[in-house]
């Protein structure tokens, strides 16, 4: 408080005046500092329309997006309009297991119902618990109805599941990943006109024709990854896809019964090939001049090596080198090979190094690697 004084030159008065204005200055300073970290209380975010708020959601994790539901009434269901959905329920849950699984199921049902056909860009459905994975069929239908572009479906491997037919006639899918014992054998018409990336792990095809039909129904397919670990009905793998540029095959199953086992690769535009196979011994590969790089692990047979003889970069694992012992006299010549990478392990396959070098007249770089 300022003391009353009659003279401006009174020291005490001046001192009080100084303290008073200094106090005001400090208060203003504090207010300015607070304002710069908050926003003056002005509700600036609400001026953005729903569509732009959803765009912001696409940069948040699903957990954070859901958390915005309690900001205010407008935000309660806004997060369900986000274009990206990652629904993952892990294998092990702590605490009240069934309660958490049921909460998760309710959450996914609520999101998809609220979506009501409004477009979803990316959807990831990963359920490793029996109780939740039973819902994958209906959730896949809902995602397809929302014209999804990228879809991932993952489930535990000890249960055979079904997927809806609409999945294989979806006109919007660009990227599809399926991991689980799902039956993909449909006797009717199937077509995936926009699919560019396809990843299939442990899928059940039913028979040879079914697998061939699946790939020939993807007219613009560029990337294909097939992983087969258990019997899935296919003896002859026929990969005839004109648009294919990159493919990775990982085959670790054992042959059973009286089936014909053969791999036929007919891909005139293939640029990259990776094969990890210990089962098939009969390969028929239409050699493609477009092939740039190949990586062979597991058994390497003549049909395969001959088919990729135009490659520029080649990587062979220790096991692959070992299997070359049988075909040393008929090793094809690699005219375009400039880079060769060989896996070094306990196998004696690297004894064949001189033979391989002899058949690669234009080799420039040789790499010996412990892990391949």
């Amino acid at each position: 408080m300022l003391r009353h004084s009659t003279s401006l030159f009174d020291k005490a008065y001046l001192s009080d005046l100084f303290i008073y204005f200094f106090h005001i200055f400090i208060l203003q300073f504090i207010r300015v500092m607070e304002d710069s970290s908050t926003t003056n209380g002005e509700d600036w975010i609400s001026r953005l329309p729903d569509s732009l708020l959803c765009h912001i959601f696409s940069f948040l994790s699903p957990k954070e997006a859901v958390g915005t539901s309690i900001l205010s009434k407008r935000w309660e269901n806004l997060w369900t309009l986000s274009p990206v959905f990652i629904f993952v329920i892990p294998l092990r849950l702590t605490g009240n297991y069934m309660n958490k699984v049921n909460c998760f199921i309710d959450y996914v049902n609520r999101v998809l119902a609220h979506r009501d056909g409004f477009a979803i860009e990316k959807c990831n459905l990963s359920c490793y618990t029996l109780h939740a994975s039973a819902h994958l069929y209906s959730w896949t239908c809902a995602a397809i109805a929302c014209m999804v572009l990228e879809l991932t479906i993952e489930s535990e491997l000890f249960r055979v599941g079904q997927l809806p037919w609409c999945l294989l006639t979806c006109k919007t899918l660009v990227d599809l990943k399926i991991h689980g014992r799902f039956v993909l054998n449909f006797p009717t018409f199937i077509c995936l006109p926009t699919l560019k990336f396809l990843y299939l792990n442990s899928v059940i095809y039913g028979d040879d024709a079914s697998m061939q039909k699946l790939f020939s129904s993807c007219p613009v397919l560029e990337d294909l990854v097939i992983k087969r670990h258990d019997w899935d009905g296919v003896g002859i793998m026929n990969i005839s896809v004109p648009s294919l540029k990159r493919s990775i095959f990982s085959l670790s199953l054992r042959s059973i019964g009286n089936y014909e086992y053969k791999v036929v690769i007919n891909t005139p535009n293939l640029e990259y090939l990776e094969i990890d196979d210990y089962m098939y011994e009969d390969y028929s590969v239409n050699s493609t001049p477009s092939l740039v790089e190949a990586c062979i692990q597991g058994t390497c047979v003549f049909g395969l090596l001959d088919g990729i003889s135009q490659v520029k970069l080649l990587a062979l694992s220790g096991d692959a080198m070992q299997s070359l012992h049988n075909i040393v006299p008929i090793l094809p010549t690699f005219h375009n090979l400039t880079h060769l990478k060989l896996g070094i392990d306990d196998n004696v396959g690297w004894e064949l190094l001189p033979n391989i070098l002899q058949t690669s007249p234009n080799l420039k770089v040789l790499t010996l690697s412990r892990d391949l």
Binding site: T38, D43, W44, S46, L48, I56, K63, G67, L71
Partner: protein
């Protein structure tokens, strides 16, 4: 493609064969104020300059662009982000729209609801008990947030 709305205007003009003979063309932008427009133009020019400087090196372009974006964000107040996002959306300038939306998302990432409300200037309009019910339903999404 930057400023697609403006490009569309020029394309439409050519289609209608309007030849004014003037050296400058006036483009009406009724939904964009001058301040955010100035920032967007600077952003666009900087982006093109960095891209031209590092024509072959994509990583270098990204690194320089990130540095510039961090500097820009320090000068922009949170309230200004609304105008910038609306302007970038109207002008169909995807890179700027993504950048400013990402900036908002980063500012509220892993923060408590109270912080986010303060940051946005929002006030809760839930009835008594409604908010509690929602917190319970989505308890798993509020775990592991930062201290305010």
């Amino acid at each position: 493609m930057k400023f697609c709305a403006v490009k569309q205007y020029f394309d439409d003009e050519n289609n209608n064969n309007i030849t004014s003979g003037a050296s400058t063309t006036m483009i009406p932008l009724p939904n964009v104020e001058s301040h955010p427009l100035a920032i967007l133009i600077t952003y666009c020019k900087k982006h093109l300059k960095i891209k031209a400087n590092n024509a072959d090196n994509k990583k270098e372009t990204e690194k320089e662009m990130e540095q510039y974006e961090q500097e820009l964000l320090k000068k922009v107040m949170p309230q200004e982000l609304t105008e910038l996002i609306l302007a970038a959306n109207y002008l169909n300038f995807k890179e700027a729209l993504d950048f400013f939306c990402r900036a908002v998302a980063s500012a509220i990432q892993n923060k408590s609801i109270e912080f986010v409300r303060k940051f946005f200037g929002l006030e809760s309009d839930f009835e008594l008990g409604e908010e509690e019910k929602l917190r319970e339903e989505f308890a798993w999404s509020f775990e592991g947030v930062d201290e305010d």
